[in-house]
């Protein structure tokens, strides 16, 4: 019986050892905790690029999709003959510098969906601190282009939008849209038109809001803004979860109400 017992023990230990060995032979990737990136006023482009590369390959999780694969555009070598991201970023949108384009792509990932790809990218300005975001931009610019990110960019959270929630604390309600209760300023600041169409402007990724008041009551619109998961328009089920849920914490009550009434009036 001892021989049997020993065989059983050997099989159990051998099987455990095999699985443990295999799991230790594959590449070891740890999910790090985002660290505060401190970049001084004299930070050099090289330092920014180095920091950005670390974020890109690490906690940013960018290589998950933006490797050289098929899930998202290739940023590092070539995307269908257009070159690396540093080469093409300045030509992607007329009137936008490379820096502006890259920031918007991180802040409002659904603003520019490259043909053939799904709108799956999370809002990186909510996941990373402004320092990390700008370091990544510097790294991306360095991929075939010229790095023009400097320390002066970092305190200003956006070259095009004053509303980034940022990864390190978020924007306060008073700062949102400069505190304005003008619905158009709020819509602009919230980036609604990156996905929604309204009065002939904006994208058609998410439901057209031009006649939203005829479909939804003010209460329903308010609930949708505060809790985007509360309902999903028919035909847009696969985009469920895309709409940011932070609007309720970004706007103050007056701004929210102004936006709700404005949209509800769009019959």
């Amino acid at each position: 019986m001892w021989a049997t017992n020993l065989k059983v023990v050997a099989i159990v230990l051998g099987t455990l050892a095999l699985y443990t060995l295999i799991a230790n032979k594959i590449p070891q990737v740890e999910s790090e905790v985002p660290q505060t990136l401190t970049l001084g006023a004299n930070v050099t482009p090289e330092q920014l690029v180095a920091a950005g590369e670390k974020v890109f390959n690490g906690i940013g999780g960018c290589t998950t999709c933006h490797g050289l694969g098929t899930r998202a555009p290739n940023l590092l070598t070539d995307e269908k003959g257009t070159g690396a991201i540093g080469v093409r970023c300045g030509k992607r949108e007329a009137g936008k510098t490379c820096k502006q384009y890259l920031y918007e792509s991180l802040d409002q990932p659904t603003a520019y969906i490259v043909a053939g790809y799904q709108p799956i990218m999370p809002v990186m300005t909510k996941q990373l601190s402004p320092q990390q975001v700008w370091a990544v931009i510097a790294f991306l610019e360095s991929q075939g282009g010229t790095v023009d990110v400097s320390a002066s960019d970092i305190p200003a959270t956006s070259p095009t939008s004053p509303t980034s929630a940022g990864g390190a604390g978020g924007a306060g309600g008073a700062a949102f849209a400069g505190g304005s209760t003008d619905p158009k300023a709020i819509i602009q600041a919230a980036g609604c038109l990156a996905c929604h169409k309204l009065d002939g402007q904006g994208q058609v990724i998410a439901p057209d809001l031009t006649h939203v008041g005829s479909r939804r009551s003010a209460e329903s619109i308010r609930r949708k803004i505060l809790d985007p998961a509360s309902s999903t328009a028919k035909g847009y089920e696969r985009l469920a979860g895309i709409m940011p849920k932070a609007f309720g914490t970004m706007m103050n009550a007056a701004q929210l109400e102004a936006l709700v009434q404005y949209l509800a009036a769009h019959k």
Binding site: V8, Y19, N24, T64, G69, T77, G241
Partner: protein
């Protein structure tokens, strides 16, 4: 300046006693071990009553005492494992309260009343179990026997509710309702709102099935040990049969488990795309390659056990030549399923590879190829079982030949559908491709159900080619059952790491951040050591409690006689 100082003091106050420390291994490892071992025991004590009550029902309504005896033996294992479950549950609670006091306070603020209900139901479950086991011989016949069987049903009901409650706590940590933010006072969160979160029901269903798989595998390992230690042919025959039943339960439930897994994965993606991407393509991407390897071991070992088992069935020799083809399909399927796809890598590694996919093998790493491979492996395993089932019979119904041809056509059709959508998947967008997996799964399930129905009808009055020689199994078949049990347990630990690890540095996803020194989620190498340690602790303890249970057991096996209990060389059924 003063404001900053005050904020700093407040932050310091907030983190005071947020975390405790555990000697030598640290707080995270301590909680990890306690939670994992508790979960393994809990899965066992929740899974086994499900098939114990089914076995008892077969015994009652099929008037087959073997099954009643089997059900009682299942329950005896349950009884001794139950106190270990409770002990490890208490250890987990103490560790959480002392090592993660602030987070524990948060959870109790949200879920307090459900924790009281949990404790109350645990009492109900315990005493129902005692009644169920100790009343077995007292309420053995007639109407009282039905009452006894009802106790088994009640035991399952309590256990399921208890598990659903505990699942709500852990799924809340993964997918808290979207309106809950870091500033939400936990005391204001409605209990049901927190319970009914996005992944609660998928986890409930997934765990229900997984518990059956796990329970079956552990019972089979227990039976295999008893088989190896048996002193009489009767005893060997009984434990051979018990091992077969345990393995059959585990493999059968395993086949449907991936569908519950798909549902859970879909809910995770719908809740938060970035969480889904982290799980499937982020730092956890290699985990799925390991998982594929483990599943391949399960399929290969499970089939190997069936093929060896055919050696004890008269008439099975006519099917033996086919096993090599089945083996080829399984090996090829395992290779395809284990092919890596999108790997997390840094920019230099990606450039060195020439892409995130291997230029040649990358084509096999995509979901189209993997879904095709796994569906064909399921079909092959089912075919193995079918051959095993028909081994010692010859159908006598007049339509036997055409029935067999129809069965063959169904296999061919199902394989054709799987291959067609597998190839077609390369030429369509991802969103369309995902839908194809449903057609592949339906084709396989449809084939399994239809072929089984035909087989049962065709087997009516079938000519017997001889009884199964239960007990006539080489020892290597029993060691295969051990490998299955270890692999199932390890796989459970791995998937637990995946589910918990995708929260990364959050106790509650994007609501309560983990600010301890263990906040980073470890790499798979470290996780594998922890999983192996937990499996070793669990198997050692389970071996010990089974040995303890055996001390009080009076053997009913004798070399001859007692045909009701053993049945060596007598059973024809499966």
């Amino acid at each position: 300046m003063t404001e900053h100082l005050l904020l700093g003091l407040q932050a310091a106050a907030d983190t005071t006693r947020a975390y405790g420390e555990f000697p030598l291994i640290g707080a995270r490892a301590a909680v990890w071990i306690a939670a994992e071992v508790h979960l393994m025991f809990a899965a066992f004590v929740l899974g086994v009553p499900m098939f114990a009550v089914v076995a008892e029902a077969i015994g009652i309504f099929g008037k087959d005492q073997r099954y009643d005896r089997l059900a009682k033996e299942f329950t005896r294992l349950l009884l001794v494992a139950y106190s270990a479950t409770a002990i490890w549950g208490a250890v987990l609670v103490f560790f959480l309260a002392t090592l993660y006091p602030k987070f524990w306070a948060y959870l109790t603020a949200v879920f307090g009343p459900s924790m009281w209900a949990y404790a109350g139901l645990f009492f109900c479950e315990s005493f129902t179990l005692y009644l169920y086991y100790y009343g077995w011989d007292r309420w053995k016949y007639g109407r009282p026997k039905l009452g006894h069987w009802s106790l088994g049903l009640l035991l399952n009901l309590w256990g399921t509710i208890v598990m659903f409650i505990a699942n709500s706590w852990l799924t809340y940590m993964m997918t808290p309702p979207r309106d809950i933010t870091p500033t939400t006072d936990p005391a204001t969160i409605k209990l049901w709102h927190a319970i009914a979160n996005a992944t609660w029901m998928p986890i409930n269903v997934h765990r229900l099935i997984a518990n059956v798989v796990f329970g079956g595998a552990i019972v089979a390992a227990y039976a295999s040990y008893r088989f190896l230690a048996a002193k009489t042919d009767e005893e060997r025959a009984h434990y051979d049969w018990m091992g077969y039943v345990g393995n059959f339960i585990a493999i059968s439930a395993l086949i449907v488990l991936p569908f519950a897994g798909y549902w859970l994965g879909r809910e995770i993606y719908q809740y938060d795309q970035s969480m889904g991407i982290t799980m499937m393509g982020g730092f956890m991407s290699w985990l799925w390659v390991i998982q594929a390897f483990l599943i391949a071991v399960l399929f290969l070992t499970g089939n190997y056990y069936l093929w060896i088992g055919m050696g004890r069935i008269p008439g099975a020799e006519r099917f033996r030549p086919y096993t090599k083809y089945l083996l080829i399909v399984l090996v090829l399927g395992a290779i395809v399923w284990g092919t890596p796809h999108t790997m997390i890598a840094d920019s230099k590694e990606l450039a060195a590879m020439g892409g995130s996919h291997h230029p040649f093998l990358g084509a096999l790493g995509v979901m189209s190829a993997k879904n095709t491979a796994v569906n064909l492996m399921i079909l092959t395993t089912f075919l193995s079982f079918l051959l095993y089932r028909r081994a010692n019979t010859r159908p006598v119904v007049p339509w036997a030949k055409s029935g067999t041809m129809i069965q063959g056509a169904m296999f061919a059709l199902a394989a054709g559908v799987v291959l067609f959508y597998g190839i077609r998947g390369y030429f369509v967008e991802a969103i369309v491709r995902i839908g194809f997996s449903v057609y592949q799964v339906l084709a396989v399930l449809g084939c399994i159900v239809a072929v089984t129905v035909i087989d049962v009808l065709m087997g009516r009055g079938a000519q017997s080619l001889g009884a199964i020689q239960w007990g006539k199994m080489p020892p290597r078949s029993q060691y295969a059952l051990f490998i299955l049990a270890v692999t199932f347990t390890w796989l459970m630990g791995l998937m637990g790491f995946a589910r918990s690890g995708i929260r990364q540095y959050w106790h509650v996803w994007q609501v309560v951040q983990d600010t301890s020194k263990y906040a980073a989620t470890p790499a798979l190498g470290y996780a594998s050591k922890m999983i192996s340690l937990c499996v070793l602790i669990f198997l050692t303890l389970v071996g010990f409690v089974f040995w303890l249970g055996g001390l009080a057991e009076k053997s009913t096996f004798v070399a001859t006689g007692d045909r009701e209990g053993g049945g060596g060389g007598r059973h024809v059924g499966h």
